[in-house]
């Protein structure tokens, strides 16, 4: 019997101990509850790895100018990984003051935490349409990072050698003709193939490629996509043609081709002539061949037959959000910092020149945009030749894990296009019941 007592007391000690441990954790994340205007700590939890260093530098500057404000930055890269890490961060009780949301789904998920940003200068300066994804019941719940766009990035030199004028490519027919010309001269141009289609990266096929053909159904509005109970694949045939073209003339096997093979190994070394990617690849290409990245790449539109054949999809990849459940002072200082970053002269200069962003706000000297892809995208946006980004409005996981996977099946001849459309429609409807 004695052993039972001992066991019981041990268990109770355990329970008390774990409660005590849990209690240690739930302290206010500011470390102190002083409403003293002078001292405030902002924890930033953000996703963009590419500008981590530049961002840390600008934060140091801001801290120097605003004594009493301390900013800690944590960066976790990659779309999915960031979502995972953010949830863990909140679950652990150390809630960040500033974090990122991607679109309507995130806004719905984090609704209880998001502060209204309507009172910031930055929200008023944001370009038309960039706030669609984070506007809810009249409140603006996030501020755009920047604009990004994607299309068909091509190798200027190879086009020249093959005698193709990139300016003549305005629709699907002319694109197909150019691809055939390149393919005929494969040996002369010393290329492996015309395209590199990374079907292993389901975000390239299931999110980006599909978006160009699905966005028109929702008028390019992410909220419409988010509220939609079904998806029609109205431009499904055009999508099939575009996918088939890339697959037929791509380096094989496409289903195991990944991002680094596509961009670094094949495109940057001139082994393929065209890839479907966005301005974020500039850094990767420059890492292999700086000169090539600066002088020899251009951007062609993605032809959506029956809609717009000379446009590229442009959108906002992520938004800054402020956690309203923290101390009032912290919320106010967080907004102040974001305003400073996007609307002060110094902040603007940093955003353009150090971050190399395509700004999503008015009042920037856009002649300072440095890399050729961002320049081209900005030009498309100026000419109103854009398609919206609606993939943030797809059901959770639908684009990558359902459609992207079905595209892999289709490319492996394990699924017909009709079945792909049917299956994908069904999983969309199931998710939106």
């Amino acid at each position: 019997m004695k052993s039972k007592k001992v066991l019981l007391s041990l268990i109770s000690i355990l329970v008390i101990f774990s409660v005590f441990l849990a209690g240690c954790n739930s302290k206010d994340s500011n470390g102190s509850n002083k409403s003293d205007k002078k001292d405030v700590t902002l924890d930033i939890f953000q996703f963009k790895v590419e500008f981590k260093k530049q961002f840390e530098d600008v934060v140091k500057k801001y801290e120097a100018e605003n004594p009493g404000v301390h900013i800690n930055i944590t960066t976790v890269g990659g779309g999915q990984d960031y979502g995972v890490a953010l949830k863990s961060k909140f679950a652990s009780g150390k809630e960040p003051a500033i974090f990122n949301v991607g679109g309507p789904q995130d806004v719905a998920d984090w609704n209880k935490k998001l502060a209204d940003m309507s009172d910031t200068k930055a929200s008023k300066a944001a370009l038309e349409g960039t706030l669609d994804g984070v506007t809810k019941d009249g409140e603006i719940l996030g501020l755009p990072y920047n604009q990004e766009g994607y299309g068909l990035i091509y190798n200027k030199k190879l086009f020249e050698q093959a005698g193709i004028d990139p300016a003549s490519i305005k629709d699907f027919a002319s694109l197909e003709a150019a691809v055939k010309t390149l393919d005929e001269q494969k040996d002369k141009l010393k290329i492996k193939a015309v395209f590199a289609l990374p079907a292993k990266e389901t975000w390239v096929t299931g999110l980006h490629l599909s978006n160009a053909f699905i966005a028109p159904e929702f008028d390019g509005n992410v909220l419409k996509a988010f509220d939609a109970k079904k998806v029609d694949f109205k431009y499904g045939d055009a999508m099939k043609k575009f996918l088939d073209l890339q697959n037929k003339y791509s380096a094989q096997p496409t289903v195991s081709l990944d991002y680094s093979q596509q961009v670094e190994k094949l495109f940057s070394t001139g082994s393929v002539a065209i890839i479907e990617q966005g301005n974020w690849v500039y850094g990767s290409i420059a890492g292999v061949d700086q000169d090539f990245a600066d002088n020899n790449i251009g951007l062609l539109p993605i032809p959506v037959e029956g809609y717009k054949e000379d446009s590229i999809p442009v959108g906002v990849p992520m938004y800054w959000a402020v956690n309203k459940t923290l101390d009032k002072n912290v919320v106010a200082e967080s907004k102040k910092f974001l305003d400073w970053l996007y609307t002060s002269d110094e902040g603007k200069k940093t955003v353009l020149e150090d971050f190399k962003f395509i700004p999503a706000y008015e009042g920037y000297d856009t002649s300072k945009i440095s890399d050729p892809l961002s320049k081209a995208i900005y030009q498309y946006a100026q000419d109103k030749k854009t398609i919206g980004w609606t993939f943030m409005g797809y059901p959770s996981g639908w684009g990558m894990d359902k459609l992207g996977v079905n595209i892999q099946k289709y490319l492996s001849n394990k699924m017909s296009w009709e079945d792909l459309v049917k299956e994908s429609q069904k999983s969309w409807e199931d998710a939106r019941k």
Partner: protein, 286 residues
């Protein structure tokens, strides 16, 4: 019984505390969550057995489970075969056996994620170059089909784990008394008979341990799977751990994934316990 002693429990307390905090409490919480519709942020409460009913109709989960079972069977056989063979080689009278032990054990010291990427390069680049040079069709396009993905995983896993399992076999092989083997030799037993009637029964406990380790490791494989094939093409080389992770973090169905994890836990526990029970029967007392 010693358990009446207070000192016995005192010595056990730190270990018990650690175990309960990192294993038992999370397990209990996990089982609790699996009956809710928690999405990682908030939950609307209990939904009974709905998650469990759904998962048995979930084709993706069942496919992953079946793939994992096939993988586990092949891996267990191959790893134990190679591990035992290597152990026999390095405990025999060859030179450089110390050096060989180190070499065979080395793959184990590299993390699974890194190994996955290294082998991915070997399969996709080196294999296809060799294939192109000698015109061997079968070496091209590795990891782009379900079959090559499966064998790729098996090769990677066998290469990584055989050395580790070898160490366990070595320990038991070296404890086999020399005089027994010598007596058998004098009685005219062939090398094969010595292996079959003396060595194997005496190292039976090693088989119990090794098979348990390879079984649970093959079932729980995640990082090699992620970096080598990423589940591709079309999720056909996706193992259970990865499927559960995706359910939790990309489809945001935490509670549903937790239910899958509970089922997975029960399956692995049942199989391992059965295996240990049958293996134990084969062990002999000296």
């Amino acid at each position: 019984m010693r358990t009446k002693d207070i000192s016995y429990w005192l010595f056990l307390a730190p270990a018990l505390l650690a175990l309960s905090l990192v294993v038992i409490v999370p397990l209990a919480m996990g089982i609790y969550y699996s009956f809710t519709d928690w999405n990682g942020i908030d939950s609307s409460g209990f939904i009974g057995f709905q998650n469990y009913i759904d998962l048995f109709k979930d084709k993706a989960f069942m496919d992953a489970l079946w793939f994992t079972v096939k993988f586990a069977i092949v891996s267990i056989i191959l790893i134990n075969f190679f591990g035992f063979s290597l152990a026999l080689i390095v405990t025999s009278k060859i030179k450089s056996s110390k050096f060989l032990r180190t070499i065979f054990f080395m793959p184990n010291l590299i993390g699974g994620l890194i190994l996955g990427f290294i082998w991915q390069f070997i399969f996709t680049e080196i294999f296809s170059s060799i294939g192109e040079m000698f015109g061997i069709e079968n070496l091209q396009g590795w990891l782009s089909t379900t079959n090559t993905g499966f064998w790729g995983l098996v090769i990677l896993m066998s290469w990584q784990m055989s050395g580790y399992i070898m160490i366990i076999y070595i320990a038991y092989l070296e404890s086999v008394p020399g005089e027994l083997l010598e007596a058998a030799q004098i009685d005219g037993a062939s090398p094969f008979q010595r292996l079959r009637y003396i060595i194997l029964p005496l190292v039976a406990p090693a088989f119990t341990v090794s098979m348990f380790l390879t079984l649970s490791n093959s079932f729980k494989l995640y990082d090699q799977n992620l970096s080598l094939t990423g589940g591709g093409p079309f999720d056909s080389t996706q193992m259970v751990a990865m499927e559960i992770f995706k359910t939790a973090f990309s489809a945001n169905q935490m509670a549903y994934a937790q239910a899958k994890a509970v089922v997975f836990f029960i399956i692995v526990a049942a199989i391992s316990l059965t295996q240990v029970y049958f293996n134990k029967k084969k062990e002999v007392e000296m």
